[in-house]
């Protein structure tokens, strides 16, 4: 994240947009609270399930207005762009979580560590392979064997009739 604060930009300060997004969020969330089931007042002891979430939403909305007003008084700042490495990293970890069920935890962790270390600039094959083997092995020994955590086995291990 490269927040180039102090660099002026056209338009309004980003706090104004953040405040507006928050107000929309509050409106949508408030609408969702109207879809909650209603129960008789006696059963809810006059404190309906919507009471507290709505109270919080009103506070957030109020604070968002303050954010917008203070943002209007501030000089716009240009936020630096998000580097591609962030999107790649986010994509890789999201994909890895998708792959846990079909591939199993250990294989996924191994593949993930290889991909991520390479993406992050490591080029030593020895280091990459050591981590790809060592990390799942450590997880297996400490958590699967030691702490009895049952990880998704995935199709690969399931073929051999083994669990994570």
């Amino acid at each position: 994240m490269t927040n180039v604060s102090g660099v002026s930009a056209r338009g309004l300060h980003h706090d104004v947009y953040v405040g507006l997004v928050l107000l929309i969020f509050c409106a949508v969330t408030f609408y969702i609270t109207t879809t909650f089931d209603s129960v008789p007042a006696m059963l809810s002891q006059n404190i309906p399930a919507t009471f507290f979430p709505r109270l919080i939403l009103f506070v957030i909305a109020g604070l968002s207005v303050i954010l917008i007003v203070s943002g209007l008084r501030r000089t716009p700042e240009k936020l630096g762009g998000i580097p591609g490495s962030v999107f790649l990293t986010a994509g890789v970890i999201t994909l890895a979580i998708f792959l846990v069920k079909p591939l199993g935890t250990l294989l996924t962790v191994s593949l993930l560590s290889m991909t991520l270390t390479w993406l992050w600039g490591e080029r030593s094959k020895t280091r990459i392979i050591s981590l790809a083997i060592g990390l799942p092995a450590a997880i297996y020994l400490i958590f699967a064997i030691g702490l009895q955590v049952r990880f998704p086995a995935g199709v690969v291990l399931a073929l051999f009739g083994a669990g994570g």
Binding site: L63, L67, A90, I97, V109, W120, I139, V149
Partner: protein, 494 residues
Amino acid sequence: MPGLEVALQVITDPYILGLIFIGTIGGVLVGALPGLSSSMATALLLPFSLYLDPIPAIALLASLYCAGTFGGSITAILINAPGAPPAAATAFDGYPMAQRGEAGRALGLAAVSSVIGGTFSVLVLLIAAPMLARVAYSFGPAEYFALAVFGLSMLSSISGKGAVKNLIGGCFGLLIATVGVDLTTGVERFTFGMPELYEGIHFIPVLIGLFAITELLSQAAKLRQEVVAIGVSALKLPSWADFNKVKYTIMRSCGIGTFIGILPAEGSTMAAMIGYNESKRWSKNPEQFGEGAVEGIAGPEAANNAATGGSLVPTLALGIPGSATAAVILGGLQVQGLRPGPYLFEQQPALLYGIFFSMLLANFLFLGFGLVGAKVFSRITQVPRALLWPTVFALCFVGAYGLEQSMKDVWVMLAAGLVGFILKRYGFAPAPIIMGLVLGKLTENSLAQAMIIFDQQWTGFLGRPIAMSFFALALLSVFAAPIKRLVMQRVRLT
């Protein structure tokens, strides 16, 4: 003190001693690694601590907390990049001193000041927490609600610039805590028909996501940055002349740090900054600050470690976290089925004394580790990010999954991390969200109970002086800074 006797037995148990040892080494290492903080480490460790009994679990987390706060100073001094935010002020004078070839002296000063600060605050914790807990006997739902509001209001003073955003973050945390079936009415809230959400969103995956995944993505944005580390052969204990020069600074910072730590939501970072500023203000040579002044290291280090014990005072006595890491420890107590407050002191004295002693021990252990392993710790700062962060992610996955052995928690962790990254980009810190999340149930339940007692009349609060005092303090903490700014503007105009 019957609990004291039991605690002494507990603390001399080789198993618990081993865990404190591991927690301390882990804390120093985590603190020394740029990007990793004690908050993140305790969040990562929390799911695994569930496999332990309450005393060893909390002793492990507490020792990690103490040692991690000191560990941050290693990177601050050697590479001018604080391993954790509380060590930011240490870099101002620690790095210049290291550049002069006095890294060992700087680390020694930091270690000794940290030990004194940490020990002082644990002693205060030992005395103040039971006293505060006794006060809490007179608290009812109205007082607890007011206290939670006061705790959340203190988020506004964590950083002056982000006051509104911190408060929004706290409210956002409260809102997340409302997901699931409402226990009073049985009504589903924000579950969108997903049975996995009926029991709500567990705070541990959110913690891991907000602290660790957010930081992982932040680190991904810094891949091109290179750090130059200054080598150190050994940590040197301060000379008598150095110690003599900083003794009053340390004493002052002990008080500042402990007091700041006791205030809900404030933590080591603010304590260190105030500790640094006060050291400079009281120094005979303020012009030397920024160029490697010994008081510039001792002041913030004593203060940030003093805040560790201080922050556990409201956490243990009232269930209101004194810092982000204390919020994680509070979560640890909750998942162990323990409710902080006066009854905890009454029913679990061994646990509490176990925490005190483990923190005391951790404070002396990290001094020992620093003396013996300064060279190793300086090399730790050179661990390639490309190897470190995939390992952190694997631990995040295992921690979130291991909680209930469910992929739902892993998705929650990922979502929290992605949202956390976006929020961080726009100036929202993760700590307030965590505070709100941890305090969510207490706030809602105590408000609901109070409203039932008051027959749905808000005016009922007016008849509760303690609650009204907390509300007054909350208003003061929210409006003090803006009012001061307005007054200063008026003064300047006239």
